[in-house]
């Protein structure tokens, strides 16, 4: 079940703080992070059958999740994209 909007907001803030520590330039904004969090959060509730239809059976799970990240966050580094998944799992686990 998808997180509440409040929980998704907390996850997006976590992502921004981790992605842009002091000394780095913020190249995405909060809305970008929130959209990515919402997309990956929703993707976690898709059945495997639906996922195979959508992305094909030859795609790894992590790449299938990454493919759900909308622009412009999908142009970020691999670590920045993985951070979205990390935040969503932590959010669902109540850690954020």
């Amino acid at each position: 079940m998808a997180m509440t909007p409040e929980a998704q907001n907390r996850c997006a803030r976590f992502v921004c703080n981790q992605a842009f520590p002091p000394g780095t330039t913020a190249t995405f904004h909060f809305g970008h992070a929130l959209a990515a969090v919402q997309a990956v959060d929703a993707a976690l509730d898709v059945t495997l059958n639906q996922a195979v239809v959508a992305v094909g059976g030859g795609v790894t799970v992590i790449n299938a999740l990454a493919m759900q990240i909308p622009a412009p966050w999908n142009t970020g580094s691999a670590a920045q994209q993985a951070l979205i998944g990390v935040a969503v799992f932590m959010g669902r686990g109540g850690l954020i």
Binding site: N9, A12, R13, C16, N17, A19, F20, P22, G23, T24, T25, A26, T27, F28, H29, F30, G31, H32, A33
Partner: protein
């Protein structure tokens, strides 16, 4: 004759959750860390706002008007700094003027123009200037009582930002 700038004579961080704070912008981009490339004076002191702000936070500000009010229109001139190439910050301003003998904590503050500062490519570390007018005119030696409120509604800036408010007349 135009006048100012006048900096706040008093700044109080009227928030305890860490969303706003006194801050020094460290210069940027490239102005922080081991690979810093800056001049000899890269830092700017100002009002700090956390990244990805939510809710409304308030800086309590006071500005003292000169005995002779400069000619022209009084404006709030704000410079904003952030190491970012995207995102926006929203500032809500409430203010009133209080004369000597008045009670600054009881005066009714009225809403002034809300403004948004947007960062785009090439604007990281640059002074972003905003000027807004007031809906009242102070007399000489009045004190401007102001609630300077970073507003989480519409705040998308994902980096810490630093804000420098002054009064000018022009």
């Amino acid at each position: 004759m135009s006048g100012g700038p006048i900096f706040p004579s008093s700044v109080f961080v009227n928030q305890t959750n860490g969303s706003i704070f006194p801050n020094f912008f460290a210069g940027g981009p490239g102005g922080q860390g081991a690979n810093a490339v800056t001049n000899q004076a890269p830092h700017d002191e100002g009002l700090g706002v956390m990244a990805s702000l939510s809710g409304v936070s308030t800086f309590d500000l006071r500005f003292i008007v000169p005995p002779t009010v400069p000619s022209g229109t009084m404006k709030l001139r704000t410079l904003a700094l952030a190491n970012a190439t995207t995102g926006a910050g929203v500032i809500t301003v409430l203010a009133a003027n209080v004369s000597g003998g008045g009670n600054p904590s009881l005066v009714t503050l009225t809403s002034q123009a809300q403004f948004t500062v947007a960062w785009t490519s090439g604007l990281a570390g640059m002074y972003l200037e905003t000027k807004t007018t007031f809906n009242f005119t102070p007399a000489g030696s009045d004190v401007i009582v102001m609630a300077f409120q970073p507003n989480g509604s519409g705040w998308t800036q994902a980096a810490v930002s630093t804000w420098i408010p002054t009064l000018i007349w022009e």
